[in-house]
Amino acid sequence: MNILIADDTRTNRLILGSMLREDRHTVILAENGREAVALFEAEQPDLVIMDLVMPELDGYEAARMIKSLACHRFVPIMFLTAVSDEEGLAKCIACGGDDFLTKPYNQTILRAKIAAWKRMLDLHRTVTAQNEKLEEHHARLRQEEDVANQIRSNVLDAGCLNHIGIRYRLTPAAILGGDLILAARRPTGALHIMVGDFTGHGLSSSIGALPVADLFYQMTEQGCLLRDIVIAVNEKLRRTLPIGLFCAACFIDLAPLTRAAFVWNGGLPPVLVFNPDAGCRAHIPSRHPPLGLLSDEEFRCSFEEIALTSDDRILVYSDGLIEASNPAGELFGEERLMRCLAKRSSSDKVFDDILDALGAFTSGAILQDDLTLVDIPVDRVAAQLDHANIQETSQGEWPLEWDIQIRLGPDAIRTHDPVPDLLQLVSQIPGLYRHKERLFTVLSEILTNAIDHGLLGLDSSFKSSIEGFERYYRERDQRLTELCDGSITVHLWHIPENGGGTLTIRVEDSGPGFDHSSPAQNFSGNVTVSGRGIALIRSLCQQVTFHGKGNCIEAVFAW
């Protein structure tokens, strides 16, 4: 160690100095307090051993100055003094000294004390170094949280949550929250809303929100049904989240035209429907486990339908709201929430009423969990949706008139089912998406006909029994494997017509055709397994015609 000795008696300095050098310390000598302060500054010793009574500046004063110079550096000062009265010794500590030993001193004790101080200094250095590292980590973590928060906001804000009349409060317990609110418009005009609450809070629960938001927005934009989105989100979370992390969530499909909401609640507190005339007039409790737990097979996605009336508001909240506690540790609770609703204040005030009551209750207590409250005023949201939809239609950003033709050869027919792709294509036409399910049946029927009867020459009459049904498909598989020439041409075109349009599906196969003048099939009295294909197409389309030798069918779907 580097040790500063301050003593006005030369002999004392020499004896102590040589003893310390013997113990392999470096020694700096000062003759008085003032010199001690100057040398301390210049040499930065590790330990100071100081006499009390010195000329120029005494030990007390020198200690004070040294301690203030040392700042955050820890340099122990040990007084070595002839003073032995209690008051004088106590003052040593009071003015910044760390230890004292009275003269005449015992060399063994002094050595022991120096060794103890060395240990203390080493410990102090280790702790300081660790502290610095910790602070560095902390700063980096904060910076990363900021960035993560930024990413999170960017992803979450991608929807229309802030432009559609919805009010919400999303208060995370940490910088990063595990609650999320998503809203996005389907091309058909309906609104999809998701409120989610991941287990825990902070970074780990926040991360889960990102894939969910992405999937939700993407699928909504593509026009997927909310039901399919719920299934996809559940599956995504089940695959990505570690065991123990899951997401309580509620999904709402708001159809402004029909004034109906479809609600799926898995693990969140009841979704409430508030009306100023009736107070809280409906609640949809959680009927499913949270997302991310059940496999596709176990997962149930049945929605509950709520008919909406004017002035209705849908309120969704996370358990952070009812579990917010006041300084005494009481919970806000559902009852207090219901009391806010029972006031039946004018519709617009409900949201503020709840937050005011909550604020008054918690009176500044720190949040233990993320808190979310969403207020969906149905009338206003519907108006905003209509407005947005009108704007969008007038902009006409969709290709409304188009035409596409594809030809499938034997390999393509064997390995590829073109129906999903074709369906995806026609669903791009705004408005036509609503008829996706019907179009699936039509496309599927027409293509099955072209392949089974046109190309493979199968006769559906032997499908009438279970055995026949199986024989039919065995035969079909075999003929399909052996198919080496022939093709199917699919031609689709769409022409817009006052608000709707006409989609024509023309499918031609290279087979021999059939006698299309024979009587048309119908459903009444048909209890057999087959014979519905053409009848289905006829029922779902406005016009169905056969061309050529019966190997070309043209179906017109007007909407």
């Binding site: 279970i466 049904f469 397994v529 519905r532 294909g533 029922s539 779902l540």
Partner: protein, 100 residues
Amino acid sequence: MLTVEMAADGETLTITLPSRLDGKIREEFLKAFRQQAKPSSHYVIDLAKTSYIDSTGLGMLMILRQHAGNDKAQVRLINCSAQIKSILTIANFQALLTVA
């Protein structure tokens, strides 16, 4: 994926269908009720996840009806979407099966 579940009383067989009821799942579907030693008295077909159906799918429901005893069949289709219901109505299935 299609799932099959027998109620505790051994009388009701519930089959939950995937998103499409068409020829692709015919083997699974037929197996679901044909592997039973004797036909159940009640069948429930859950279409909560099903968006699409075609005539092969309708045919498969008719096979189930035959299996369950034609006119005496107790087959209930539950959780049908509006779209599925409309196809079932077009095909006159309300007269043949219980659609809920």
